[in-house]
């Protein structure tokens, strides 16, 4: 297959195939058929994404960008493209969904066709966010990724799902609207678009390159920075906008939590790297200390809270805030080694946390409880599960040989280069992470089994398969992370040159 003959391009297939697959899923009636179809289509998406990675080094391939005129006189076009970071994150999205579908294969959801359909629509939305190179398209997909999640959490979630999801939605919606004002303001300061005869097609443009080139004064950049940052900070979440997260993660169904924490939080990080940093360099230089300080407060605060959690889901939720806080702090240091660490850590954190959620889902499905105080000695009857979990737990602590170690080491280097005291404060989180993770492992999996955990059975084949994939990925990327670095090098260099 000659790559130059491809008339459809990778990013727009990655968006529209899950979209169509999701819409088709609504028509199914039988649960088994729905699950097979969902798994099949997500695997196809994964293959497309792998192809896009394979052809990553072929710069002559124009198949990584797609541009369709939409609102010409407004200067908005449906343009999507993939650079290194985009390919990495779309790959993360593409690989998460088959893993999630396989892991939850034995769980029976009511109205499965709507459940899986909405999940596939979420995937399409996420792909769109990562691929968008037009601000209006970015905003469209940013909002559209949340709507299916709203319905998923509200219908299939836990007891207090309605309040938690409502809070999540209103919070995120407010942030998005503020970002919309920012987008409009930058839009009105972009240069006109000319056609070949140098006649004006539109006075302004929503295109990414035009946004980068918009001339904004320091004052304008300052308040625009906050408009965008609040939206991304709510998404990641960064202290003090994090209050929606533990409740939402706890109340949503496991498959959705995996999507939320594995992929959706990366939307916030991605937004900062792709949109915030390049557009507002002066404001970044001015507010970097503030943002890093907020992130680090979040890291320490979340880690401390995690040590006090009894509920497994809430523990992982707070742990996730801590990990993401570190990433968001490192981004604002704008150091090369830090940014490279963030890139691969975005991928690693996704894999690790999905692994954690899979284990929690298994425990909850079999035993019906999520409380650490009620669990003990699972290792006796489920050794394979325990081994897998221990590896993932080590990855959560960022032990060497695991993927998270590489990422965190580089991020701490970047933070250290920026400001020693910030790095020291952030390092506290590693100790706390070890505390709460190992505490959880010891209490839940080791020790004497009680009457409840005696009933646990060894995990089934599909669960073993996905957990093995996660474990292999942890070690593989931990020992040989070079491919991921090569993939995202262009994005990192692009940002560094802007801040020189």
């Amino acid at each position: 297959m000659d790559p130059k003959n491809i008339s459809v391009t990778f990013p727009h297939v990655l968006i529209f195939f899950p979209l169509m697959a999701g819409l088709i899923t609504f028509l199914f009636k039988k649960d088994a058929a729905v699950k097979s179809w969902a798994l099949f289509s997500s695997i196809i998406t994964l293959c497309v994404s792998l192809l896009s990675l394979y052809y990553a080094n072929d710069s002559a391939l124009s198949g990584l960008a797609f541009n369709y005129e939409w609102l010409k006189y407004l200067g908005a076009s449906f343009s999507v493209s993939l650079d290194g970071m985009g390919r990495l994150l779309t790959f993360l999205t593409a690989i998460s969904f088959p893993v999630i579908f396989v892991a939850t294969y034995n769980t029976n959801y009511k109205n499965a066709n709507i459940f899986y359909g909405l999940l596939l629509l979420t995937q399409a939305g996420l792909m769109g966010v990562f691929a968008a190179s037009d601000a209006l398209i970015f905003y469209f997909f940013w909002e559209l990724a949340i709507i299916p999640v709203y319905f998923l959490c509200s219908k299939w979630g836990g007891e207090k799902r309605l309040q938690a999801t409502f809070k999540f939605f209103i919070y995120t919606f407010t942030g998005s609207l503020l970002m919309l004002v920012g987008i409009i303001y930058v839009y009105l300061h972009t240069a006109p678009v000319y056609d070949v005869a140098h006649a004006v097609i539109s006075e302004h443009s929503f295109a990414l390159s035009y946004f980068y080139a918009a001339q904004l004064s320091a004052n304008q950049q300052n308040w625009l920075f906050w408009l965008f940052f609040i939206a991304f900070a709510i998404k990641m979440p960064v202290f003090p906008f994090h209050t929606w997260q533990p409740d939402t993660y706890e109340q949503s169904p496991s498959a959705v939590t995996m999507v939320l924490s594995g992929v959706m939080v990366k939307m916030g990080l991605f937004g900062v790297i792709r949109w915030l940093l390049p557009m507002f360099p002066l404001a970044v230089a001015k507010f970097d200390n503030v943002v890093i300080l907020l992130s680090i407060i979040g890291i320490v605060y979340a880690s401390l809270l995690a040590t006090r959690q009894d509920d497994l889901k809430r523990l992982v939720a707070y742990s996730s805030i801590a990990h993401i806080g570190l990433m968001s702090a490192t981004i604002f240091t704008t150091k090369q080694i830090g940014l490279e660490g963030v890139m691969i850590q975005m991928f690693n954190h996704g894999i690790n946390i999905i692994g954690l959620w899979i284990v929690i889902e298994i425990i909850e499905m079999q035993l019906g409880v999520r409380k650490i105080s009620q669990l003990a000695g699972v290792a006796h009857k489920a050794p394979v599960l325990t081994i897998m979990l221990v590896v993932i737990a080590f990855a959560n602590i960022a032990l060497p040989l695991t993927n998270a170690f590489v990422g965190e080491f580089m991020m701490f280097s970047g933070l250290f280069q920026f400001n020693v005291w910030f790095a020291v404060a952030a390092l506290v989180s590693i100790i706390l992470a070890a505390m709460y993770t190992l505490n959880m492992v010891q209490k839940v999996f080791y020790g004497t089994a009680n009457s409840l955990t005696d009933t646990i059975k060894e995990i089934s084949v599909n669960e073993q398969v996905v957990l093995s994939i996660v474990v292999v990925a942890i070690f593989l990327t931990g020992i040989y992370p070079q491919p991921l670095f090569n993939l995202t090098k262009d994005t990192v260099i692009d940002i560094i040159t802007r801040f020189k």
Binding site: F140, E143, K155, F166
Partner: protein, 466 residues
């Protein structure tokens, strides 16, 4: 011109036809036929740039593609109203053909108010569209709320009309050049506005704000919308309000456009008050009908941004907003009419009973909130671009989006009731729904999504000819 003449004539036809119609269901078909004729005639005028009738209007009315496109949108929304709610109009009372006649007269007033070129024709248009509404509000004669609403509307409306006339008189007399009613002839000379013009402007502002239910002149709206029969509320809250806005903008853009910076502060205060009061009170409503009434006040706040900015985006935005808001609200009211219980809890479990109604209601509510892929988002986008482009009072834009976020709360409360709550009462309800009704709802929802992706379907027509 076609629209004005044909709606007036057809209104009279309906009125006298009422004597001859034997069955109760005949007026509806005659009304639909007349409306379709009007739409076609208006469309021909839009494309040919020439009307069937030539009168020497002495330039008192102007017809350009902007006006005619707006009239087309208003007529199409009324057609949707007739098709969706025709049977419900018949249920309001005995004088069915009179109701349709009055609606046609309102449409005539809408057309005049959209195309006026002098202050007198503005007054004529506003009055012609208001007076039949007073009667329509009262049409549920045996309901005390309807009578009270009508009296409230009539008294306050007449009062505001008096203020409008006073304002017109001041504008006429205080004109720096020779006194003239033509809005393009209003001049102020250099520097600040003369006192008479300022007073005239403020009086007209008050009167027009009353008509479009902008705060602090909105107090009539919730009671009137709540008391009127729901079908007519649907008509009032959408098409009439939009016509009020078009008249508002036309007047202020042509007459006072050059002095925008002198009166922009008034509009700023009105917008802030309207958004705040509309959204905050809607949050606490238990009745969906009242909630939609307050939401229409909040949406009016957004539409006022067109007055705030007075640039190209604003003008395109107001027509797009009319279309988006009318489609969504007419659809929602159509569904509301079929429910027995108008409270939010009355919607519990609608998804199980009537999936089509539930799905289309969700699309309408998402459009009103302003979620992308719906026409409501494009409308809000245009308004926000217009406001930011103007450059003054940027805090107002941030305030507006925060209020839009508040609006998500009460719109999504209904979505939650529809999909995620169980119901006891809906299962036993007697549904008076035809398959045609469901198909129409689906068409409306599809239109909203199509406009959400391609707003140029409407905005292209605005520049067709000048």
């Amino acid at each position: 011109m076609n629209a004005i003449i044909i709606t007036a004539v057809w209104g009279i036809v309906m009125m006298f036809g009422g004597v001859f119609f034997k069955q109760k269901s005949t007026p509806k078909y005659w009304a639909i036929v007349g409306l379709v004729l009007t739409i076609i005639a208006n469309g021909i005028e839009l494309i040919n740039q020439k009307s069937f009738f030539t009168f020497d209007l002495k330039n008192m009315l102007t017809f350009n593609s902007f006006n005619l496109t707006f009239i087309a949108v208003a007529l199409l929304c009324t057609l949707l109203l007739f098709l969706l709610n025709g049977r419900d109009i018949e249920k309001v009372g005995n004088n069915v053909s009179e109701y349709f006649a009055l609606i046609f007269f309102v449409l005539c007033g809408v057309s005049i108010a959209a195309t006026f070129n002098t202050l007198l024709t503005l007054f004529l248009g506003i009055e012609i569209l208001s007076i039949p509404l007073y009667i329509l509000t009262a049409s549920d004669k045996r309901n005390l709320k309807s009578n009270e609403a009508a009296l409230k509307y009539f008294l306050m409306g007449s009062f505001s009309t008096g203020i409008l006339l006073m304002g017109i008189a001041f504008l006429y007399g205080g004109n720096a050049a020779t006194p003239s009613f033509y809005i393009s002839n209003i001049t102020i000379g250099a520097g600040k506005m003369p006192v008479m013009i300022a007073i005239g402007l403020v009086f007209i502002l008050i009167a027009m704000s009353f008509k479009v239910s902008a705060a602090p002149f909105h107090f009539w709206a919730p009671d009137v919308y709540d008391g009127a029969p729901t079908v007519f509320t649907s008509f009032m809250a959408t098409i009439v309000k939009a016509a009020g806005f078009i008249a508002f903008i036309r007047l202020f853009a042509y007459a006072f456009g050059t002095m925008l910076d002198q009166w922009q502060i008034l509009i700023t205060v009105i917008i802030a008050a309207t958004l705040l009061i509309g959204n905050l009170t809607a949050v606490f409503q238990q009745s969906v009908k009242r909630m939609l009434a307050y939401s229409s006040i909040a949406q009016a706040g957004f539409m006022m941004f067109a007055l705030f900015a007075l640039n190209e985006f604003a003008k395109e935005g107001i027509v797009l907003y009319t279309a988006a808001y009318s489609l969504a609200t007419i659809g929602l009211f159509a569904i509301l009419i079929k429910m027995n219980d108008y409270t939010i809890d009355g919607f519990n479990g609608l998804a199980k009973q009537q999936p089509v109604l539930a799905f289309t209601a969700t699309v309408f509510l998402l459009s009103l909130t302003g979620i992308p892929l719906t026409a409501g988002f494009q409308a809000k986008l245009f308004m926000l671009i217009a406001a930011v482009k103007d450059g003054h009072q940027n805090w107002l834009v941030i305030f507006a989006v925060l209020c839009a976020a508040i609006s998500a709360y009460y719109y999504f409360k209904v979505i939650q009731a529809i999909y995620f709550k169980e119901s006891n009462t809906l299962a036993t309800q007697d549904w008076d729904i035809t398959p045609a009704f469901k198909i129409l709802l689906i068409i409306t929802a599809s239109l909203i999504v199509v406009l959400g992706i391609f707003p140029t379907l409407i905005t292209d027509w605005l520049h067709y000819f000048l």
